[in-house]
Symmetry: C2
Subunit: 311 residues, 2 copies
């Protein structure tokens, strides 16, 4: 049987990397020649999790069609977030927890999306349905994914199912979810040694909204002011990205993981959409978004609504 | 809680009607105010199944947003096959077994597609996962859906899972699947009293293929020549549809349910795509498609490939 590549989105986060590893493991157990790969650099938070549980990072790929015709997507479905040659391979399966958009196949496939906080939560169900035990290190990675996506269970995207799955996985992984989780989040929020260009690319995703092109980047921080101290460099890096990609808006959300707020830094021709969406006034491009920690649930839908109304 | 409408595609077939009824039943058991509805006339085959198992047809609706904001789609996802105001309601869930295209949401949802022959096969899994027993009459409807979509297990879309589900459902419904199934298919293939316009609309679906608009209709027949005897009227009705909808191609597949072949009748500016896709020569718009019984697996993908290559 042909090799199947399993991967998450570009600018990989902990859920994307860990879910690719976990699902490839599951598929291997049922006889598939599956390999987890990644589409970008492993971030500091994910690196912490991989090292803690002693698992090697997946192999990096630039393109998929050069080595296989069959892929499985985890933690994403939108074409622009996937491998660059996604149109040249057959998508066998998708396991995801995001909205569905810019995704099209010519054949039926296995697609499983659930409105939960993390792909790993769905994967745990599939492990159970298939009767496959989750090994300790895979459980640790899946727990890390849930902690990351839920900001240690504080995000509004976090459901009871995510909390229950995390509890179960923490027992298998033999860690205290809260202690381990805060250490992992802090490892990811150590931003001091990053350049502005690196900061805005840590977790950036592009979204078509109506007829507009919008990129929303998010960084977790212990100290938001430490990030804002680099505002001039950040603006320069963001402006370069806007020009290079032809964006109408770039929104950087600097998320305070201790106080569960985000500070927005917005640039581009359509910054007024941010003001409208969140009912705030940008001062020098900056505004506090009270209680906003989830890009998926609290940023993308409201911004999309504003842009679609402009069409 | 708000009422949730559960429905399949326009030009409903047996899977669409029966899966809507079965899934609405399941949702009611877990406390949802769910109602199965339909987007078009019940066909003769489905009517046979409903009468045999003593279940009333779902209520017909023209629009959804006039009565609720929340819907569940079964047996389809493409916008043009759904209720006319699908963009004005929130899709809570999709249970389907088709390709994914022209489907987009702004929020995460529960989406479950599997590459099996029938939606009802997936529903049986969900009944089991939720621990809900399938009542006799619902089992009969779900069995009817599988028999219909698989042409009594002869279609290449039919998987081992469909056969196993049908066997299980036949036992609950207390019928012999082969005997009941042939009676049901024959009831649906009694085309004698239908006008040409009715014939081409029994099971017609529109597909965007590349930049082209294509409609593929399918009728089951015991005697294909009986249908072709009305060729002039069929062509007139098809031409009217092409003009009305601005189609580039209309393909009517007359499927011989006893010999598992289809006879194609193609009209429109792009009939050459049919010749290219199936490597046949149309004579007066007609060609035999050997072994072709499945629109989804044997018609739509090959036609799509030809049209996409034209772009």
């Amino acid at each position: 049987m042909e090799k199947v590549l399993v991967f998450g989105h570009k600018n990989p986060d902990t859920d994307t990397i860990c879910s690719a590893l976990a699902y490839a493991y599951l598929k291997q157990q049922i006889g598939m020649d599956a390999e987890a790969v990644r589409l970008g650099e492993v971030n500091a938070e994910t690196q912490f999790a991989l090292e803690y549980f002693g698992v090697a990072a997946p192999r990096f790929i630039e393109t998929a069609a050069t080595e296989t015709n069959a892929v499985i997507l985890v933690d994403h479905n939108e074409r622009q977030q996937s491998v660059s040659d996604i149109d040249q391979v057959k998508v066998l399966e998708v396991i995801d927890h995001h909205r569905i958009a810019n995704f099209e196949t010519s054949d039926p496939l296995y697609y499983r999306a659930e409105p939960v906080g993390c792909t790993a939560t769905i994967l745990l169900k599939i492990f159970k349905e298939k009767g496959i035990a989750v090994p300790k290190e895979i459980a640790g990675l899946m727990l890390s994914a849930i902690i990351s996506d839920s900001l240690l269970f504080k995000s509004p995207t976090c459901t009871d199912e995510d909390v229950a799955a995390a509890k179960e996985l923490a027992a298998v992984a033999e860690v205290d979810a809260d202690v381990y989780g805060l250490d992992m989040l802090k490892a990811g929020a150590s931003l001091g040694d990053k350049t502005a260009a690196q900061l805005i690319a840590i977790d950036a995703k592009e979204f078509p909204m109506g007829s507009f092109k919008v990129e929303v980047a998010q960084v977790n921080a212990i100290d938001v002011n430490e990030v804002l101290a680099k505002k001039a460099e950040l603006e320069e890096a963001i402006s370069a990205t806007i020009e290079q990609k032809g964006l109408d808006l770039f929104l950087l959300a600097i998320t305070d993981i201790l106080n569960s707020n985000s500070t927005a830094l917005a640039l581009g021709a359509q910054t007024s959409a941010v003001e409208e969406a969140f009912n705030v006034t940008l001062e020098n491009g900056v505004a506090l978004l009270e209680g906003v920690v989830s890009r998926k649930k609290q940023i993308v839908p409201v911004l999309t609504e504003v842009f679609v109304a402009k069409n």
